[in-house]
Amino acid sequence: MDALISQLLNGSAQGALLLLAALGLSLTFGQMGVINMAHGEFLMLGAFTAYLVQQVIAASDLSIPVALPVAFVVAGLFGLLLEVTIIRWMYRRPLDTLLVTVGVSLILQQAALQIFPSQGVPVEKPSWLDGQLNVLGYEWPLRQLFTIVLASVCVAALSAWLKYTSFGRRIRATVHNRDLAETTGISTRTIDRLTFFVGSGLAGVAGVAASLIGGTNSQMGAQYIIPAFLVVAAGGIGQLKGTIIAAWAVGVALSCFAYWTTGSLAQVLAFILVIVFLQVRPQGLFTVRTRSLA
């Protein structure tokens, strides 16, 4: 029973981290249909940003809260640059986008290797994340709880932004029917750029959270990109609710499998689970219910 509770809690934290990585993808892949393999490297940029902010603000208690918005902007700007220079020419050409962004991810990894030590850099946890919380007898590290809180805040903010703001409505409209949006007076180019900025920025925030849990190095993005894509696909393309549930399920599955087997076998088993699920339900957990196609 104790093992189950501990794995549920660990898995929830892992799921929250996956969710943070997948949130941006649910916008750029789920909503815009762009397969951006460099999304993992935007996460890496967020993690390195946390490290660099700590070089400027030595007090880690303060540096992490500062690093979160800075990482959002830094990763967001890189995403915007990618959209403006490359992606904009490749909408509706998913295979080309995939190949080009794989190239971009390799360039970013190499650039990180050139700038930072190959073994990675340390990001200090703030002291307020040092403790544990007792949950049914299990000492749950606060940094895991922080990841869940951060993911919840990001989900709530993203949902509210998409639902209640003018930009959110325009994004949803553009995703739904691009030509119709354009003839309604929406500048779909502006919406594309903004969506890419926010989606990539969220990867940056995920990177800060990841830097507190695992290592910060040039390869870290590759760890998250495939599970994040699987989460978005399993949740249902463009379905935020589905992404949340899928991220949690994959996180818990990874944690439980890792407990009973090994870390690398757990990854394989979790992927098999998602692939089998997608065979049974290719549309993912949730789909759009509508009487019309438009």
């Binding site: 003018s166 409505r169 325009r170 949803r172 409209a173 739904h176 029917n177 030509d179 119709l180 949006a181 354009e182 003839t183 309604t184 007076g185 929406i186 500048s187 779909t188 759009v288 219910r289 509508t290 009487r291 019309s292 196609l293 438009a294």
Partner: protein, 227 residues
């Protein structure tokens, strides 16, 4: 207002419109059988398609290469074929989308809800779950919120229940009476000729007849459509 002169356009290497000129008029009807090029002409008018030859002028400005959203900003509105609405957004959100950022945005929405009461009744329902007729009313309301000088309508009564068809036809007549210019593609030739000041008949992408709406006999138009 809108002048389309000697237009050639198509998709890829397939040319659909051949030297098409649309006469100026307050309400202009474009008539023709399926595949005649009517929808292509309207897509070209709103900017979803660029001409390979010819000019599109709006209020004297050459807008041939202008993006659709910029044409909307200049006073054009488009109601596409097929009762198109943003299905995942609610009825109200579909209207807010256009009203956002406009002065009197809320009043503009209220005015359209008064015009089409079903929209108020189903304000919180997702547009994808509305009936075809309600979606078409929503599409027209969305266009009207932009306070257009010119309304482009592509088969607004196609596939809609008869009671709503009458409402939509009445709305089009009202709008023309309010001074909004209308470019209309319509299968109901009787209504189109009654509403139109001028009409143009397309067959296989060529103009086969133009004339004054009120005076035209439906049989003459049908003959021109068959050419």
């Amino acid at each position: 207002m809108l002048e389309i002169t000697d237009i050639e356009a198509g998709y890829g290497r397939t040319r659909v419109l051949h030297g098409v000129t649309v006469p100026a008029g307050k309400v202009v009807a474009v008539l023709g059988h399926n595949g005649a090029g009517k929808t292509t002409l309207l897509r070209l008018a709103i900017g979803l398609l660029k001409p390979t030859k010819g000019r599109v002028l709006f209020d004297g400005e050459d807008i041939s290469s202008l993006a659709p959203n910029k044409r909307v900003a200049r006073g054009m509105a488009y109601v596409p074929q097929g009762q198109q609405a943003f299905g995942q957004l609610t009825t109200l959100e579909n209207l807010q989308l256009v009203a956002d950022g406009r002065r009197r945005g809320k009043a503009l929405i209220e005015a359209q809800m008064a015009r089409f009461p079903a929209l108020e009744k189903f304000a919180t329902r997702k547009a994808g779950l509305l009936s075809g007729g309600q979606r078409q009313q929503l599409a027209i309301a969305r266009a009207l919120i932009t306070e257009p000088k010119l309304l482009i309508l592509d088969e607004p009564t196609e596939g809609i229940q008869p009671t709503i068809v009458a409402e939509i036809e009445q709305t089009i007549m009202q709008l023309a009476g309010e001074g909004i210019h209308v470019l209309l593609v319509e299968q109901h030739i009787g209504f189109a000729l009654e509403a139109a000041e001028r009409y143009v008949v397309l067959a296989s992408g060529f103009v086969t007849q133009t004339g004054d709406g009120g005076l035209a006999a439906a049989s003459t138009v049908r003959a021109a459509m068959a050419i």
